[in-house]
């Protein structure tokens, strides 16, 4: 039997992705559509009768009359005109049974395509709970396509759909006469097929929204949620991070004992384990942050947060829609910039992309944590606040304030004076489905670990090589690294960075930081452990205690200020290039971030020294 090509289509928030995850499990591939910056999700499964199916999860769309790049992809793939995509053999149109008035209109649009269509009436369980009775045979007759009830969040919720795929293929529906009033038709279908036994105002959404969208309680709830989120990232992750850190230290010691002293031991222990280990430690923080964002997204809360913050964002010339990408940027600017695809206004989208790198991403945390721990005294100020926490908060705030200022400048410079739009659905609240969260987290963890395993390890090894060779000549005095290539590069960069108070070791660490900011910590560990000539596997762990003897407070604070802007992240610049298809935007981003970083570090260094 040949493989069946199926496309899942439907409105945003119809539960399409949950159904996709249910059908395909972890046999998924996420990429981009050829020539577009739209995420392409494909998966595979086998029906009970043994038929192979290739399932494409198309971007959610309200209409075939596209208003965004996502909707244009959906339109073209459904029509079979997208270059490089096989025309689907069957469209499975997913509609939320509790929101048929909106979703049925799009379902009816499908009839014009001339392809077999099946209507998956999703979340049928929620409809029953909401007191809705739906006459399925009648709905099937009036929509002109097979109607199959599904529950995307239940283990066997797609059984009827699978049975349909194994049965006789559905016919191509007859197109509606041109000029049909789809809204009127939907109204008629609903009147014929759906009976309500519970009034609308008693629904969960209505009761919850009275609090969540309340002008006073809404913002209070939002602040509490964000506070809990940051608390979780910084406090709850600590035991896990300590455990990984200890495990890596132990691993270094054990491996160090097994290998004979020499270049190989130095490479494995100083290069690979010390370098990668210092980065893997941050996995718990990154996962906790992503878990929060995924839960807030799945539950339907994020668009409400965007609603509450729209006014605030409009002061910076943006809309509430920018809130979600910017919040994700606290985890990492790469998914944040990718999330700007939901912003329809091109100007708002561009500004959001440009300021996303100013949100303090989790990769900067290793640097912040290390420097704050080493240089800021652990003491209480104003009776209840921790000075270290306060400095960390200040660094986050500096990023946000800079982002607002940059956004205002960009908006003022931009000639596009078109109206900013918000128009956004506030979807039904949903209990986040553990499987969907787990799949999302697994994807994140995989990306992170692959990065550690490839880019970061190879960079640390390269850096180790640069720092170890050539070896110092016989009879040389001073640390060996002074004689190495890295030392020479660091010395060459020094004239540019000396005004910021940076020494050549920092300059060396800035180079691999280009690939991934968090590598700077591993790089400092490598540079100092090789330079100190002490028991090397201990050096990485002792970096925090060692730095104050090498750097002044002004240097440390200057490096912190540098990292608020930290232009050196190739991954961010690459994703900006991919999302905007413009090298100019990449150059503007890198240029302004470098300028601000230099200025801020310069000012910090000289002000602290003067005090």
């Amino acid at each position: 039997m040949t493989t069946l090509n199926i496309a899942l289509v439907g409105n945003p928030n119809c539960g399409k992705t949950a159904l996709f995850n249910l059908l395909t499990g972890s046999r998924q591939k996420v990429a981009n559509y050829a020539g577009a910056t739209v995420e392409r999700k494909e998966g595979w499964f086998t029906t009970p009768a043994g038929r192979g199916v290739r399932l494409l999860d198309l971007p959610g769309a309200y209409s075939l009359n596209a208003t965004s790049p996502d909707e244009a992809v959906t339109r073209d793939v459904c029509a079979g005109t997208y270059r490089g995509e096989a025309a689907p053999d069957l469209l499975v149109c997913v509609a939320d049974a509790t929101n048929l008035r909106l979703h049925l209109r799009f379902v009816l649009e499908m009839r014009a395509l001339g392809r077999p269509v099946v209507l998956a009436l999703n979340m049928i369980d929620a409809a029953t709970r909401n007191g809705m009775e739906i006459d399925l045979p009648r709905l099937q007759a009036e929509t002109g396509m097979p109607v199959i009830p599904t529950v995307g969040i239940k283990r066997d919720g797609a059984r009827a759909l699978l049975a349909q795929l194994d049965g006789t293929p559905p016919p191509v529906p007859t197109p509606l006469p041109p000029g049909t009033d789809l809204h009127a038709m939907v109204r008629q279908i609903l009147a014929d097929c759906v009976t309500h036994t519970t009034p609308l105002s008693d629904r969960v959404e209505e009761r919850l929204d009275r609090w969540v969208l309340h002008p006073v309680w809404g913002p209070v709830i939002l602040v509490v949620l964000l506070f809990l989120m940051f608390q979780a990232v910084f406090a709850w992750a600590q035991p896990l991070m300590d455990a990984i850190d200890a495990g890596m230290g132990l691993l270094g010691q054990q491996v160090g004992r097994l290998l004979p002293a020499g270049a190989l031991r130095s490479l494995i222990v100083d290069g690979v384990i010390a370098g990668a280990g210092s980065v893997v430690t941050f996995l718990p923080q990154i996962l906790i942050l992503f878990a929060w964002i995924l839960v807030l997204e799945e539950s339907g809360y994020l668009p409400r947060a965007a609603f509450l913050l729209d006014r605030l964002m409009s002061f910076a010339g943006l809309s509430g829609r920018s809130f979600i990408p910017l919040l994700s940027s606290f985890a990492c600017a790469v998914p944040g910039i990718m999330a700007t695809r939901t912003i329809q206004n091109p100007r708002d989208r561009l500004i959001t992309i440009l300021i996303a790198p100013l949100m303090t991403c989790s990769a900067r945390l290793p640097v912040y944590t290390l420097l704050i721990g080493a240089f800021v005294p652990h003491r209480t100020v104003l009776g209840f606040m921790n000075l270290q926490g306060l400095v960390l908060f200040g660094l986050y705030a500096a990023g946000i304030v800079s982002a607002v200022l940059v956004a205002l400048v960009l908006r003022w410079r931009n000639a596009d004076r078109r109206e900013a739009t918000l128009l956004m659905e506030l979807p039904a609240y949903r209990l986040p489905n553990p499987r969907d969260i787990a799949l999302g987290l697994w994807e994140r963890a995989r990306i992170f670990l692959v990065r550690v395993g490839t880019t970061i390890v190879s960079l640390t090894v390269l850096l180790w090589g640069l720092s170890s060779f050539p070896p110092p000549p016989a009879g040389a005095t001073g640390p060996a690294i002074d004689w190495s290539l890295a030392g020479r590069i660091g010395h060459l960069m020094l004239p540019l960075f000396a005004p910021l108070g940076f020494n050549w070791q920092i300059c060396v660490a800035l180079i691999p930081g280009l690939a991934a900011r968090e590598v700077a910590v591993g790089a400092l560990a490598t540079v100092y452990s090789l330079g100190s000539g002490t028991d090397t596997d201990q050096a990485a762990a002792q970096l925090g205690q060692m730095l104050p003897t090498h750097w002044s407070l002004a240097t440390a604070l200057s490096l912190l200020a540098w990292y608020v802007y930290a232009p050196q992240c190739v991954a961010t610049l690459a994703v900006i290039r991919r999302e905007t298809t413009s090298w100019r935007v990449v150059a503007v981003t890198a240029g302004y971030l470098f300028g601000l970083a230099y200025l801020a570090a310069f000012l910090t260094y000289h002000i602290v020294r003067a005090l």
């Binding site: 929204d209 006014r311 809309s319 739009t421 918000l422 128009l423 956004m424 506030l426």
Partner: protein
Amino acid sequence: MRLSDLPRGADAIIDSVNDTASNDPVARRLRELGFVPGEPVRIIATAPLGGDPMAVRIGFTRFALRRTEADRVTVHIAENPA
């Protein structure tokens, strides 16, 4: 009256959606989302700091829209609130 003139909790019926320019994408999208004559709407919330944007329930769906977007929709107060 316009949708943007309604206070929180008000129920109304849509009269029309008007383009502010020719082929206005916002007006077109509003119509596709179900803002069509005869449809009942309710203002379920207004945002902090000046009541802009507003959250509107139409049918089973809730939408957030800015006042400039809601300006395009003319309504009359419903006599028998849904």
